[in-house]
Symmetry: C2
Subunit: 346 residues, 2 copies
């Protein structure tokens, strides 16, 4: 840009902590001038933002793996943007970057904030901008390290993943197939399930909205479940616990069914199946694997290129103003593929 200060930055800030499902009232909308970068800093124009189930957790008070978003702060979000002003030799105007941009049209980074934001240049030869928010982004990394490091799937084992049509689920199931496993998804609705099987190549997909998950698991996992990648929690976790095999590994990645609860989280009643089956349940936080992201991205980009892996993104338009309603789609299960908010076209 020639004069960033002439630009207005439309921002979405957390106005209050939600009880249950967040509504538009939880947010405030601000406009600020876009400042010039200081020495070593950059200004990024937001092109697309990643909308993730984890966002719901960041809205709550209390200790978690990262601090909550403060009241009055710009909502935390990862995204892809374009450098429009730079006083940093590593980033030139026009570069596309991935970073923690926040739900705003422009993000200013001082030098010391650049590293903390996880900013890096993306290579669109490896994948499209939305793929960099999906398979090549945090969801892909979560699926990759959760499955490979925590799940440790072995050739011929049965891997089940919930939220199979979602961003993490897509990666998990397709990667399980590539590694020689049987992949069984759980998703909401016939259309998603058909896509998971026909397009992504899962061996089966159980429609939790349309039927009995336990019966589906019995049918599609005749030898039991060896690895379960859990994105949803609740009843489905219990259904899978009732079907795990000896030595099974359950990856606790999320519990989207529980995030908007106003009652306590529903604990897995069948957890003693871990005892009977000498099985384990283990949590994953993707940031722990940051130093291995480049290697995983390279591997996954290869699968995208050679066609062994596909990706689907559900792109919502309307800019940051559309953020509150777009976020809800994750919790109603309306999104079909990785949910992305388009903020600008270039």
């Amino acid at each position: 840009m020639n004069n960033a200060t002439a630009l207005s930055n439309h921002q979405v800030r957390l106005a209050r902590r939600p009880v249950g499902t967040p509504t538009r009232d939880e947010w405030s909308f601000t406009h600020e001038p876009v400042p010039e970068p200081t020495d070593g800093g950059v200004v990024v124009k937001t092109l697309a933002l990643s909308l993730d189930p984890a966002m719901r957790g960041w809205m709550n008070e209390g200790k978690s793996y990262i601090p909550p978003v403060g009241i009055g702060e710009v909502m935390r979000a990862g995204g892809i943007g374009k450098i429009i002003a730079s006083k940093n030799p590593d980033f030139a105007v026009g570069n596309l970057v991935s970073a923690g941009l926040g739900v705003q049209e422009y993000a200013l980074f001082a030098q010391d904030q650049i590293k903390r934001s996880g900013m890096f240049r993306i290579d669109t030869r490896m994948g499209s901008m939305t793929q960099w928010l999906n398979v090549l982004g945090m969801p892909g990394m979560t699926g990759y390290f959760g499955l490979m490091d925590v799940g440790q799937p072995k050739f011929g084992e049965t891997v089940v993943v919930s939220g199979a049509a979602g961003a993490v689920g897509q990666t998990v199931g397709q990667l399980a197939k590539i590694k020689g496993c049987r992949a069984v998804g759980i998703a909401g609705g016939r259309a998603k399930c058909d896509w998971v099987v026909n397009e992504l190549g899962f061996d089966a997909c159980i429609d939790y909205k349309g039927g009995n998950v336990r019966a589906g698991l019995k049918e599609h996992c005749p030898k039991g479940v060896d690895v379960y990648f859990d994105n949803v929690g609740g009843e489905i976790l219990d259904d899978v616990l009732a079907r795990i095999g000896r030595g099974a590994r359950i990856i606790i990645c999320g519990a989207i069914s529980q995030y908007n609860n106003t009652t306590p989280v529903q604990g897995p009643k069948n957890y003693l199946s871990l005892l009977v089956n000498r099985a384990r349940m283990e949590g994953i936080v993707v940031f722990d694997y940051a130093d291995r992201f480049p290697a995983a991205v390279a591997e996954l980009a290869g699968y995208l290129k050679d066609g062994r892996m596909k990706s689907k993104e559900d792109v919502v338009t309307g800019g940051v103003n559309a953020f509150p309603e777009a976020l809800i789609k994750l919790f109603t299960g309306e999104n079909f593929g990785k949910l992305v908010l388009q903020v600008a076209t270039g």
Copy 2:
């Protein structure tokens, strides 16, 4: 014996499956003549039986890590006995053995049943008969392999164990101390807690009957809980989950608080703490480690000899007729130390 057939064998059989806490009505009492052993077989006179929380699970219908006890069958129980008749070269009359004897005064083993029963000769130089049912028996093995293999405690870490005054808990806490960890017990009542600290040398013990477990954990585990050995489930598991540290390991060994439930098992509401803390929860079944029992017994017997480990057994007299009431003591927490039923004195 000169004539085994002259002996009458008093047996306790499962008459029906209990709902909730088992009563005397769940059992039938039979008398049978004691047969002579067939070629390769032995007859064992029961001296002492191990009473274990797991017995409650064996009384239920349905799949578990071993089949349930059938209606009309002699109740399954491990014990120490004396060979009184033998047609097997490995066992001589007078030998003391540990084996799955069942709740009966005499047990007949055909040759092929001897191995299946896990029968082996005990060496009373390594430990007393009741210690062979405690630290040197299944509870000790469960504590040893659960802590060392699943829990993987590191020097300086904090290890918490529930049922600390029980058979498994005793071993876990003392072993944790020997391995250089901070050991914190949870037990019911001041007397048990005092004994756990003063006699067994735990660093602290929280009285769940007398106070707030969460506050106790906060006080006694200032750096968080690295390893939790869970024998009880229920609220206490949730309390510990709220206090685990990063990378914590939870060993699921039992859930005695839930065994007599007539309502569904209470799942751990705080299980998402596994995610936040990248922690894991894993089940153990002691039989999986059978080929390593001799090495573990040798190690633990050494600690008993050199005084670094103590053991306490709660011996109930009255023979097999006293079995139904003795078993209940486990679930009310009345037992103080490993619960043993004395069946004969020699």
